[in-house]
């Protein structure tokens, strides 16, 4: 807590990725460099998760859904967000 670590690593692949990422086209008065930074950091943050692929639990879940009844599968998997069997929340019209 009283010590602070200086970031000592060399510029890694991330540095290159940040420069290489394509920013969104902008016309606002925001600092361009900041915009590029925001756009690429947002994408890198997001893609860190995307690149983890599909965790096995979801493969198993869909496999079960293909072969068993939804009631059985949902019953076995009721998690934090359970209660999914009320009215469907589709396109919030």
């Amino acid at each position: 807590m009283n010590d602070h670590n200086k970031p000592t690593g060399p510029k890694g692949p991330m540095a290159g990725a940040m420069q290489g990422a394509t920013p969104h086209k902008r016309k606002s008065s925001l600092n361009r460099e900041t915009q590029i930074k925001i756009g690429s950091q947002l994408q890198i943050t997001y893609n860190e998760v995307v690149n983890q692929g599909v965790p096995d639990r979801f493969v198993q879940l869909l496999r079960r859904l293909e072969t068993e009844s939804i009631e059985d599968v949902a019953g076995a998997h009721s998690g934090e967000f359970a209660g999914a069997k009320e009215s469907p929340d589709d396109k919030g019209s």
């Binding site: 010590d3 602070h4 670590n5 995307v50 965790p55 979801f58 939804i70 967000f81 919030g92």
Partner: protein, 186 residues
């Protein structure tokens, strides 16, 4: 009960990685995000008849996920407060040390955005949805999405430029250590 349909489950599986990324940006917590994705898949499967074939499966799933999160969020608003540092714990793999401080700053700033703005920014800026698709997912007008995205970018830029002013003090690294638990590298 829905009839088994491999192509539907394939399409759902293909959407899982980006659903997770979106869910994490909403919850700030991997475990809750994965539960949210799971509930999304279950609910989608149970309501396949409300999916219009030929439309965007991914957008449909995002809509369900967002609605689930919203209804859950209303129930437990206090716990969801997504303060500094929770993003740091969400990701097992950290960027290189040199850029890590910047990423922590970015994630902290992102977590500070109002939820409406954050989701609009993520949908358009990272998930790759058009403004129209994002408006469909969020159930609002296209113009609303555009203004939320713009406000999100402006706010992030403010937060980040304020933080970069601290570059010539120790605060920057200290803050990263505090928020990222990064004092134990090596």
């Amino acid at each position: 009960m829905s009839s088994p349909n491999p192509s539907v489950s394939e399409a759902m599986l293909r959407a899982v990685p980006s659903l997770r990324a979106f869910a994490i940006s909403l919850c700030g917590n991997v475990d809750r995000a994965d539960d949210l994705v799971q509930e999304t898949l279950l609910r989608a499967w149970a309501n396949l008849n409300s999916f219009e074939p030929g439309t965007n499966m991914s957008a449909w799933l995002f809509t369900i996920l967002r609605n689930l999160f919203r209804s859950e969020y209303r129930k437990r608003r206090r716990e969801v407060a997504d303060g500094d540092g929770s993003y740091a714990e969400t990701l097992k793999t950290q960027p290189e040390q040199a850029s890590r401080v910047e990423f922590e700053e970015f994630r902290t700033a992102l977590a500070k955005l109002p939820q409406d703005q954050r989701e609009a920014l993520v949908l358009v800026g990272a998930s790759g949805f058009s403004y129209e698709e994002a408006a469909g997912i969020c159930g609002c007008a296209v113009g609303t999405i555009k203004s939320r995205v713009n406000r999100a970018r402006t706010r992030l830029a403010e937060l980040m430029s304020i933080e970069s002013i601290d570059d010539f003090g120790p605060d920057r690294e200290l803050k990263a250590v505090l928020s990222g638990g990064g004092g134990s590298n090596g």
